[in-house]
């Protein structure tokens, strides 16, 4: 028997390493092997432990703690699981996986990311072999037939980029993988690298062969230390196995590979800024054209794709482009990975075929909204995307359909909001982010986002002005027109979509000084319901501003002048007597 622990960043944060240690100790001297895998994507159930009989998954245990180790090992040894019934995943939670279609994440949570032979056992590097037996043009044709488009957000056809780089003449072309996943709320790329690094390497090798690249570079976010560690190991193993280096698999094709760790700048997810950063400079976008396919890294032809894009490539070559294009809609083929988070019951990584509705992802896979609250909006595409309201939940996942709502497909962040989330506050959150991350090159983006941030700050503080919405709209338009790169051009999207679908919340903030989500503390008023108050004096004792007065066993009163709206009273009141409006 094998016991496998899910050790992605999520699992580790939830305590997987402690569980691992305890299991190893419990299994000492027994005929049970302890191993690891990456992230299976069910963040809400971490730490997850799987029991395998050879290659067959016997039991999946969830929310395991180190104290369970002994009985897990005993159960595995006896092959009798009645004693650990409480840990076994529920039927309902199993649906989280069974409703998905996994291509990019095909090995995540199954394979051991630190073992190349485990990857090869699952058909790994067979697609590379097949690609090397084809001509580079045939490889590009296969990708074209698949309809694969860039999964980083823009959705540009992958074959077109490859073909352009193929046609550029130079001895030293570069193939670059963009793993600078900066969207706050997205972690798909990290999960792929941590859980299945060889899928990325194999996809990149096929791409490098197709365009004729001499070197492959993976630009990884510095905040992903585990991903870097696993990828380093995978590259070393692949080199030793002869998949990277000179004369790969005796095909005559040679290619080097290295990792470059980013240093924390969201704008470096933009391809020309990424190239600047690779060259050791400040990551500021370049003017296009020339496009990277003509003149990129070190002025040589360079092709840049996202992690998820590469993770699909080996599967496409192995199974054929046609097979891939069977999934999805007319405009968007294949699957898309999303990081489903926020106020959803089951958060984690989901990979679904294009064409599924947002509603199905959120309610069927995600299990609906936490704590019985009401759905308000789903945010797609992070700081470059937008919020989609309930009436549009039947929109299907498709590049075109999502753009029409004003949001974008994005790299895969999918954050669910409920009635307690203030949409003006949400806009401010994203503008805080883009204003901070604007590289400063273009005036419209540098100063425009700052001004928008100021206006939104005014609104949430109850100081919004009558014409602020008009001013916001004007700024949005100016920034869209005046910014050079994707970061600037899309920075107004969170504001534009919330203005479109949640305009009434802006008006309430400005004209009524009211926040319906009760999130903007400056707009709240606290009072005590005299009928419910028992005069226990707890609130008066807790109030840091000494704003609550009253005698024991008699209703208390809050002095609104003194109140600093910290909410301490409403938290301590056991009778629900504090009214927040």
């Amino acid at each position: 028997m094998r016991i496998i622990i899910g050790e992605g960043s999520c699992g580790i944060a939830a305590g997987a390493l402690k569980v691992h240690k305890a299991l190893e100790k419990a299994a000492e001297g027994k005929n049970i092997r302890i191993g690891i895998t990456g992230c299976v994507g069910m963040c809400f159930l971490e730490p997850i432990v799987d029991i395998y009989d050879e290659e067959k998954l016997v039991k999946r245990l969830v929310k395991v703690s180190e104290n369970d180790a002994q009985r897990i090992v005993c159960a595995a040894e006896k092959n009798d699981y009645s004693d650990i019934d409480d840990l076994v995943i529920s039927k309902e939670d199993e649906e989280f996986l069974s409703l998905q279609t996994r291509i990019a994440l095909r090995n995540c949570g199954i394979t051991d990311p630190t073992a190349i032979d485990d990857y090869q056992k699952r058909g790994g590097y067979k697609a590379l072999e097949k690609a090397l037996s084809m001509s580079p043009e045939e490889v590009i044709e296969e990708i074209k037939a698949s309809g694969l488009a860039g999964r980083g957000g823009a959705g540009f056809p992958t074959w077109y980029k490859w073909s352009a780089a193929r046609k550029s003449e130079s001895k030293t072309k570069y193939l670059i993988c963009n793993a600078d996943e900066g969207d706050p709320g997205a972690f798909m790329d990290r999960a792929v690298i941590e859980s299945d690094p060889h899928a990325l390497i194999e996809g990149m090798l096929i791409g490098a062969y197709a365009i004729g690249a001499a070197e492959m570079i993976v630009y990884v976010r510095a905040e992903y230390p585990l991903a870097i560690k696993r990828l380093e190991k995978a590259i070393k193993d692949a080199k030793e196995a002869g998949f990277i280096g000179e004369n790969i698999l005796e095909s005559g094709f040679s290619c080097k590979m290295r990792i470059k760790s980013g240093a924390g700048a969201f704008v470096c997810g933009e391809e020309t800024a990424l190239i600047e950063s690779l060259e050791g400079k400040r990551g500021m976008p370049r003017l296009k054209p020339p496009f990277p396919a003509q003149s990129g890294f070190k002025d040589e032809p360079s092709n840049i794709n996202n992690v998820e894009t590469f993770a699909n490539v080996a599967w496409i070559i192995a199974n054929g482009g046609k097979e891939f294009s069977k999934l999805g809609t007319e405009n968007s083929k294949g699957t898309k990975v999303f990081a489903l988070t926020g106020k959803v019951r089951k958060s984690g990584l989901v990979e679904v075929p294009m064409g599924m509705t947002l509603r199905d992802v959120i309610y069927k896979i995600g299990g609906g909204i936490k704590n019985g609250k009401k759905f308000k909006a789903v945010q797609l595409g992070g700081p470059s995307g937008g919020c989609i309201p309930e009436e549009l939940l039947d929109t299907v996942i498709d590049y075109k359909a999502l753009s029409e709502t004003g949001a974008i497909m994005g790299s895969g962040g999918m954050v669910i909001m409920d009635e307690d989330t203030c949409m003006v506050g949400m806009s401010k959150f994203f503008l805080d982010f883009t204003a901070e991350e604007s590289c400063g090159k273009c005036v419209h983006c540098r100063i425009g986002t700052k001004r928008m941030q100021e206006i939104l700050t005014r609104m949430v503080n109850g100081e919004g002005r009558e014409d602020d919405v008009l001013l916001l709209e004007e700024l949005c338009k100016a920034i869209k027109d005046g910014a050079l790169c994707g970061l600037g051009q899309t920075a107004p999207n969170p504001v534009l979509t919330t203005l479109k679908y949640f305009r009434e919340e802006y008006d309430e903030h400005i004209f009524e000084h009211r926040c319906r989500a009760k999130e903007c503390t400056e707009l709240l008023t606290y009072s005590i319901d005299a009928e419910k108050c028992r005069g226990c004096t707890l609130c008066a004792k807790k109030c840091p501003a000494k704003a609550i007065e009253g005698e024991v066993k008699k209703p208390h009163i809050i002095d609104k002048e003194k109140c600093i709206r910290c909410g301490a009273c409403s938290k301590v009141c056991r009778f629900g007597a504090v009214v927040v409006e």
């Binding site: 999520c10 944060a13 706050p184 470059k260 060259e279 050791g280 400040r282 990551g283």
Partner: protein, 161 residues
């Protein structure tokens, strides 16, 4: 030139391993930060000279990327997650409470040199939102009170030692 007098020979090994060209500036700065804990001015001058990059350019790069620190780091690195999932789960309130308690702001170190605090884009433990990470260990499902009490415990522990 600078109030810091760093032992520059610590960098010799880095310069041997990594090719001394401007392209490798970020990588060398990262290595230097690993060695010194932050980027002292004299170290940056030295790196610039070695790689053939002007001091102003080195400073430009060091201030552009959020990873680089220009002042010494505290004993505990507290990373507050500011990802979207944490935001909708109330991370702003947690952050405010932490900043108020430590009397400092993002990217800075407390006066006692104990905590360096950083707001980061996403720690990737979205199911535990809101989250903070202290020297690599994640603390989840935070409330402002819980976050402050975790820090207060560390302070108490340190004061006792």
């Amino acid at each position: 030139m600078s109030k810091y007098k760093s032992d520059l020979s610590n960098l010799d090994e880095v310069f041997e391993k990594i090719e001394n060209v401007p392209e490798n500036l970020i990588t060398v700065l990262q290595k230097a930060q690993e060695i010194y804990g932050f980027l002292p001015k004299d170290v940056m001058y030295h790196i610039g000279e070695k790689l053939g990059v002007k001091p102003a350019k080195v400073m430009g790069v060091a201030t552009f990327y959020s990873q680089f620190r220009l002042e010494p780091m505290g004993k505990y690195l507290v990373m507050l997650c500011g990802g979207t999932a944490c935001h909708v789960s109330g991370s702003e309130k947690v952050a405010k409470a932490v900043f108020d308690y430590l009397e400092t702001e993002s990217g800075r170190t407390t006066k006692d040199g104990l905590f360096t605090i950083e707001k980061v884009a996403c720690l990737g433990c979205c199911s535990l939102a809101p989250v903070m990470m202290i020297n690599g260990e994640a603390f989840g499902n935070l409330t402002p009170e819980k976050a402050v009490s975790i820090l207060a415990d560390i302070r108490k522990k340190e004061a006792a030692e």
